[in-house]
Symmetry: C2
Subunit: 226 residues, 2 copies
């Protein structure tokens, strides 16, 4: 089998693989599972929900903060090949906050459950070290998001988002509703709609049902200031 979604490929995700004993490798093979998530499905929400280390095989997930009154702020997104460590936050004793994680699109993931990862951490320092390094990666992502949200004017922030999405998908059409964009940039839907309408009036984008088409990339870049 050369199917990249096969569990046999799980070794590719773990840089510490060569540091594992045969028993430890077998422990992972025996316990890892492949899980499929529907678009919009909540993967992790709250401290009691510690599913383990999650390897994103296909699709896309996002981590976000949720306020008491239901506001959401996206912290980062993970795609194929990325590993989500905060779904295993109970393993990391120094992580004392919690984020919500959901599938943005249909997703497949490999999961090594908490008990197994904890056993590996206890017996092999490389495994624990790897998890903390992953957390540091996410720390960097969160700091980036925080700086965007706190310091950038909203037109610039939205322009960066549209430009990043377009570059990532290689398309001028961004198939997201205003509601979806607002969750991803961490602003109220009304604010997003107002700014998109402004962009449309300026001829920078065209608003379509269920999506946004970029018409003037140069003006978008000008807004970002690059």
């Amino acid at each position: 089998m050369t199917d990249e979604t096969s569990l046999n490929n799980i070794r590719e995700y773990f840089p510490f693989w060569q540091e594992l004993s045969e028993r430890e490798k077998q422990l992972i093979y025996d316990n890892a599972v492949a899980v499929d998530y529907a678009k919009g499905e909540v993967i992790h929400s709250g401290e009691d929900d510690c599913i383990g280390i999650m390897l994103v095989v296909s699709g896309e997930i996002r981590a976000y903060l949720l306020s008491e009154d239901g506001r959401e702020v996206t912290l980062y997104r993970l795609r194929s090949g990325d590993i989500c460590v905060l779904t295993a936050s109970c393993i990391l004793k120094n992580i004392t906050f919690d984020v919500h994680i959901e599938a943005i699109s249909e997703c497949r993931a490999f999961i090594v459950n908490t008990a197994v990862y904890q056993e590996l951490c206890a017996g092999n320092m490389h495994v624990e070290n790897f998890a903390y390094k992953l957390a540091a990666d996410r720390f960097s992502d969160v700091m980036w998001a925080m700086q965007q949200i706190l310091f950038l004017s909203f037109d610039k922030r939205l322009a960066i988002f549209l430009s990043d999405e377009s570059a990532r998908t290689g398309s001028d059409y961004i198939p997201l509703t205003h509601e979806q964009v607002s969750k991803l940039v961490g602003s109220a839907r009304e604010v997003v709609s107002r700014m998109l309408k402004y962009f449309e009036n300026e001829g920078i984008v065209e608003l379509m049902r269920g999506g946004i088409k970029i018409l003037d990339k140069k003006r978008l870049r000008d807004l970002i200031g690059i």
Copy 2:
């Protein structure tokens, strides 16, 4: 010497001390230095300024974000016994952002410079592991700050700040100017002054030259909602 500010006490700060070889211990003793900072002095600012692992012996420091137009947002504060790892962010390859760090009060710190800590990390995994766990602690602090800033209404946020300061110092008098409070809570000075004036009109605090006196603890707690 039983002086707690003596460099001989540096071993107390490092939980990995017993995992070190005699040579590694000596490397720390030979290279650690004690540094004194004046109130307001900038300790670390920018990626090129990687001074090493900093142990706070006395006084208080804060880490903050700085926008291009000079706005500041405090991320966390560290006091006697705490260790600042982001002054050594260049050691942690997975940390790709940078914060500014300054002395809030007169401070004494022990510093193990970057080259020495890097040598220890390379030879002893416990040392590297410790640094990443510290980074995870700071990650938790930053997430807390982010939730405060993004989600709490400002009256609640300011009430929590005043209440925390009072509890921490065991005094009803908080010797901070509006300018200093605004930097610590991450809001504009005008906003802080307006809210403090409102608190004063409500009889919750009395504003004095160079400080704030809490008059009504119950109302302050009511604002926080506890």
